[in-house]
């Protein structure tokens, strides 16, 4: 990654134009050519510096429901419970974290009602309580990672 790549990563984390030639517009602002910008984005995506380039959608506004849920699982039972939880297709991601509340996952469902149902199903399947922690309000600004 050179200085131009870093400029691209820092400048293009939002505000990409919706227009006929958006790469040309963005490239002009960066002082490079359209071809160069496209080629560099391809490289940054293929080497894993960027995970995506494009629109970031707001999942709930597309009609589904999301929540964050947490569980407290004794270490000796952790793997079994992880397996059980992961089998639910509604579990989008699941992380082990350093805390008594050691399992944290995102539930994504077609409808808000389904969230409550899935939580009940996970509790019955694992024998442990699921703490539902839906966001009540989001204070979203959008992080600019400095490259």
């Amino acid at each position: 990654m050179d200085a131009t790549d870093r400029k691209i990563v820092n400048a293009l984390q939002g505000g990409f134009p919706v227009s006929e030639r958006p790469y040309a517009e963005a490239a002009t602002k960066l002082g490079i050519g359209e071809d160069d910008l496209i080629r560099r984005l391809d490289t940054l995506l293929s080497d894993g510096t960027l995970t995506r380039f494009g629109p970031m959608y707001h999942a709930e506004r597309l009609g589904g429901a999301l929540t964050l849920a947490a569980m407290r699982i004794p270490p000796q039972d952790f793997e079994r419970v992880a397996e059980t939880v992961n089998r639910f297709p509604e579990v989008a991601h699941n992380y082990a974290r350093t805390h008594d509340f050691n399992m944290w996952f995102v539930l994504a469902t077609e409808t808000p009602e389904r969230i409550t149902e899935v939580i009940g199903e996970i509790e019955r399947a694992t024998g442990y309580r699921v703490y539902n922690m839906p966001k009540l309000e989001e204070f979203y600004v959008g992080l600019r990672f400095e490259a």
């Binding site: 984390q13 505000g15 919706v18 030639r21 790469y23 995506r52 959608y57 947490a70 989008a92 204070f139």
Partner: protein, 175 residues
């Protein structure tokens, strides 16, 4: 149903309302990314069989309505050297959580901040903020800065680091 343009002005608008079948096709065609060709919206239009003008009009509308949060690059923060990611959780007075959440959410090292419900007595925290740093020491330093901002409003806090990804499937939006 309120018109979608009214929703943009209301941050806590109800979900869903404004997208139709054609929007969903645009979402499905672009959720993995925008084509890297000189006229990407034309490429999307060709793929789904509508005009580029229509793709652009609908994309601008989805941006205004907050259905698209932003358009651009999504960095892999690990690749950029941000290897420590702490989920910081705070117990702050409920009547100040919005005001404080806005301040914390605007800090340049916080990617997201959320008000979430407590579950007393097991879980006393009502404000979550994701803090990113190059290592845990950097995250801890930033946690001290948040604590300083909060002052007496910080009635307790903790930091949870992820140690393992147990499952990761992207959120898939059906067509």
């Amino acid at each position: 149903m309120r018109p979608a343009s009214a929703q943009a002005a209301v941050p806590r608008s109800p979900p869903a309302a404004g997208i139709d079948a054609i929007d969903r096709r645009i979402v499905a065609a672009t959720q993995a990314g925008l084509p890297r060709v000189p006229r990407p919206y034309h490429a999307v239009a060709d793929e789904i069989g509508i005009t580029a003008a229509e793709v652009m009009r609908r994309s601008r509308h989805m941006l205004d309505a907050g259905i698209i949060r932003r358009i651009g690059a999504v960095p892999n923060h690990y690749a950029l050297g941000y290897r420590a990611n702490g989920m910081t959780v705070w117990d702050v007075p409920d009547d100040r959580v919005r005001e404080l959440g806005r301040i914390i959410g605007a800090l340049d090292f916080v990617s997201h901040a959320y008000h979430r419900p407590r579950h007393p007595p097991d879980w006393p925290y009502n404000l979550f903020a994701m803090v990113h740093g190059r290592d845990r020491a950097e995250v801890e330093e930033k946690v001290r800065r948040i604590a300083a901002f909060l002052g007496d409003n910080d009635r307790g806090h903790d930091v949870l680091y992820s140690t393992r990804i147990l499952k990761k499937t992207g959120l898939r939006i059906g067509q």
